[in-house]
Symmetry: C2
Subunit: 306 residues, 2 copies
Amino acid sequence: MVSEFEFIDNIKSKYGLSRVGDDCAVLPKDAETDLVITADLLIEDIDFRLDWATPAQIGHKALAVSLSDIAAMGAEPKWAMLSIGFPQDLWKTDFADRFYEGWYALARKYGVELVGGDVSASPDKLIIDSIVGGEVAKDKAVLRSGARPGDGVYVSGTLGGAAAGLKLLEQGGTDVETTKKLLEPFPQVTLGKQLSSLGLLTSMIDISDGLSSDLRHICRASNVGAIIDRAAIPIDPAIASHFGPDDALALAIDGGEDFQLLFTSRERLDLDGIIQIGEITDAPGEIFLKDGGTRTELRPRGFQHF
Amino acid sequence: MVSEFEFIDNIKSKYGLSRVGDDCAVLPKDAETDLVITADLLIEDIDFRLDWATPAQIGHKALAVSLSDIAAMGAEPKWAMLSIGFPQDLWKTDFADRFYEGWYALARKYGVELVGGDVSASPDKLIIDSIVGGEVAKDKAVLRSGARPGDGVYVSGTLGGAAAGLKLLEQGGTDVETTKKLLEPFPQVTLGKQLSSLGLLTSMIDISDGLSSDLRHICRASNVGAIIDRAAIPIDPAIASHFGPDDALALAIDGGEDFQLLFTSRERLDLDGIIQIGEITDAPGEIFLKDGGTRTELRPRGFQHF
């Protein structure tokens, strides 16, 4: 069975789709500006559970995941559409009102305007397709494909918190601060724009599937390899009280949904909160984890639908 | 329980959403052009059935419904995104390949480029969100809100065929030509642009919910009423062999998914295939069906999710 990544690659090559495959599609807008646009499908019991999250948290997250894609292009979010399928029993409650309140609280922060979408009945599961459009200076969108050997590899913050929150919820845990990392992720919109304005980034992606998978997406698109320094990976400190060091590292490397930015720069960056975790190499597809004197292959163990 | 139309009205007024509520949202693109954009959520067993339609027909229809929204603005479709949730059992088959073939056959006709979207697993039902972007000359998008008393009310072709196809399928029938009207609708993209280029249209909508409901959407947005001439309603001739005259008229008036255009014009239009069915009046919300000397209220009995 093919993974969704292989499937998308197949469709891309079969139909010659040059704009498919980054965090956002980039389309010409006017002489100075490009339009970036992204869609994220969130389905009940695949991407969220109604017994774990409040309606407002689901609304927040639906927008946050798409804002994170806009951030990963170094772009500014402008407008959004929401297509939602409501099961009858949920439609009869105040769920939709609470959902939109959560969505709006985040939209307001970034001046994002809801311009359209669709409202439909659904047979059983709540279905949300979140679409966000943004703008970036012409030809300045930061793609996945520009990483070059010698570039530094950076992340925008600590990793593994969302995956730890998921594990805690699965185990019936109730550490609100940790589960919030999963349920109310913070999209790095301001930082994404700031980083891109430096003019030094060669590639960027948001960590939605997990560091090990998303780094591979960059390496694949850029036709390069990477070496990551195990000791440099910033493990979310909230994990330590719940998991041992090996599990904590695995959560930080393979856990998805932290929505930190992963990016490469041709010059050394020295910004508050930014952490260099490795370097790009000229060996396509070879991605290693370096631990002192030993190297092991960093396999993509992040989230996969199929 | 509120209908989805009331719900959207509530959200519009609560959050002051000026761009929500037409077939497409209209956004500024550049000095000469506006961007129009639409999203349509199609869910298995709500909007289509896998045992009625081929994968290619489902792909065709997913794009057709959104192209029809672009047509209803008088705009030209340019690009599309597809968010799809596949149940595991469907993912293992060649369904996705056949689906994209159907989608592409229609996309190619109008030069529509697939630029992005999302691929996800779904617990049980196939889920498709179809997003299409198009372009129209600045401030020339034909909205629902411009109909004025005295304008003629027109449709772009015969009505009721898709609803008749649905009834036949529900009854286990196999009239391929009639069921095709439901399963392979034809979006009026070329006609929509041609009509809008006349500069005479005051409002337009595509008939997706049904004439009686979609006419009400125009009257509501335009704050006007309408009188429709029963004898002028163009009933799809394919219906006559399956249904009596009263049922046939009901299918043409209340049946959805024909994706013909419904529009109003300030001057009399005399174009091949275009049919005048009535006139706009100055009585807001009063919509009548005129049959010789008698008038009855034309109630919105078209499709509603809730």
